[in-house]
């Protein structure tokens, strides 16, 4: 855990120093939300009904940008495989990167949720607690699978294209679960329909986490 912590510390410090990545992500996310709201038009009821889906599409699109950058800093520093020269379980590299991605996405969502409330006039504030649970599970699943594919594609020439191509199909259950749970919570059905989606998200997150952690060392093989 100490090595995972070192990677988390290093990545967050780098992000704080440059700020370029986060600012670009934030601008892109705001742009996506604005475009959706313009495309749908001024019909407030429709906007509010679609808010959950549009919010998660914005998170997935923007998060994919963040994930693409996760291992690029390692390439600039000589290659992610050089991290394998340190003794210890290479899974610590995955866990550190995963934690850094989670922190970045959480910071992004701290802005996106209120922005969605304003733009789509959806009442997110009064459902803050169940929505936070959905956000944790949805973001967790997204980061777990995204961090893995980011490491897998970092050495490929067409990585910008291949990352979403590999990632999006694997995200289908997460997006379905997150959107379904968000819609159910916003419809006031936090204990009923949302519960089913939350159970699906939890199960999928756990399975993905175990599989990704298990096979990550193979990704670092040259």
């Amino acid at each position: 855990m100490r090595r995972a912590g070192a990677i988390l510390w290093k990545d967050l410090l780098t992000e704080l120093r440059t700020r370029q990545g986060f600012s670009a992500m934030l601008s892109f996310a705001a742009l996506v939300l604005f475009l959706f709201s313009f495309a749908i038009g001024p019909e407030t009821e429709l906007l509010a009904r679609l808010a959950g889906g549009l919010l998660w599409v914005a998170i997935v699109f923007t998060g994919t940008l963040a994930l693409g950058r996760a291992f690029q800093s390692e390439e600039l520093a000589g290659g992610v495989r050089l991290l394998r020269l340190y003794p210890g379980d290479p899974r610590a590299i995955y866990l550190g990167k995963l934690a850094a991605n989670l922190v970045l996405l959480a910071a992004l969502e701290a802005v996106l949720f209120p922005a969605t409330e304003i733009l789509f006039q959806a009442d997110l504030g009064s459902h803050a607690l169940p929505l936070a649970a959905v956000a944790v599970l949805g973001t967790g699943g997204f980061s777990i699978v995204g961090t893995f594919f980011s490491a897998l594609t970092v050495h490929l020439r067409a990585r910008e294209l291949l990352l979403p191509l590999l990632l999006f199909p694997a995200l289908v259950p997460i997006v379905l679960g997150a959107v379904g749970a968000t819609d159910a919570v916003l419809a006031g059905d936090a204990l009923g329909r949302a519960g089913g989606w939350i159970r699906l998200l939890t199960a999928y997150d756990v399975i993905l986490f175990v599989v990704c952690v298990w096979i990550f060392p193979i990704v670092l093989e040259e």
Binding site: R2, R3, G5, A6, I7, W9, K10, L13, T14, R17, T18, S73, L76, A77, G78, R81, L82, L83, R84, L85, Y86, P87, G88, D89, E221, E222
Partner: protein, 219 residues
């Protein structure tokens, strides 16, 4: 601890259809400095990367510090280090932060004084708190030397350690090699600076097209 630091027999490594190493037989004793010489693309870096456990051999036997590289990678990595030509440096971090990160990744910690000392040894004390993106190539090389020197090692693998360094920098590397040798560590260095490599090496191995072409004591 007995036995050589490195023992390879029939070591072969292939990248697709290209053979980078063809049946390398090599033995390096503990406390010995071995120089790998050869033109570009002769397999020096590949050999170092196999010994550092970064690459798996395609065929042959490779024992590093008495451990088979296919089975005991982690045990080897705890006692060996590889210094790469470009270094392993994060540009947004300062020199001191880079060393602190390396120490934590190696499973230890490095107090501020330890960081200062390590940087002072390689002549970077004055720029310890500057981001390494402002460092020259030679300064990054010195930082890499400080990083490798953080741990107590039984095997040191140096890939082009003299490249990009001024005379003072070259002297620092030579001093470090002498210190490692005195401490009983085996040192394997791949270099284009034939004279510097020969001066320090107990033995010179010349590679050509992935094979050992000549081997002997330093001139």
């Amino acid at each position: 601890m007995s036995g050589p630091a490195v023992r390879t027999a029939g070591l072969t490594r292939r990248f697709g259809r290209r053979w980078a190493l063809r049946g390398i037989d090599l033995e390096v004793a503990r406390g010995e400095v071995c120089a790998l010489l050869g033109a570009n693309g002769t397999g020096k870096t590949t050999l170092l990367r196999v010994l550092a456990t970064l690459l798996r051999p395609t065929a042959g036997t490779v024992e590093v510090l008495g451990v088979d590289v296919r089975r005991g990678g982690d045990s080897i990595r705890g006692r060996a280090a590889l210094m790469t030509p470009a270094g392993h440096t994060y540009e947004e971090l300062t020199g001191a932060e880079n060393l602190r990160f390396a120490a934590r990744m190696a499973g230890g910690t490095l107090a501020t004084e330890g960081v200062r000392e390590a940087l002072a040894r390689v002549g970077l004390a004055d720029v310890a708190d500057q981001p390494t993106r402002s460092y020259s190539t030679g300064m990054r090389k010195r930082l890499e030397l400080a990083r490798v020197g953080l741990r107590r090692l039984d095997l040191v693998l140096l890939d082009e350690p003299f490249t990009s360094l001024d005379e003072a920098g070259v002297a620092l590397v030579q001093e470090a090699i002498a210190d490692w040798k005195a401490a009983g560590a085996a040192v394997i260095l791949a270099s284009h600076r034939v004279d510097d490599a020969r001066r320090q090496a107990d033995r010179v191995v010349r590679l050509e097209r992935g094979s050992v072409m000549a081997e002997g004591g330093s001139a």
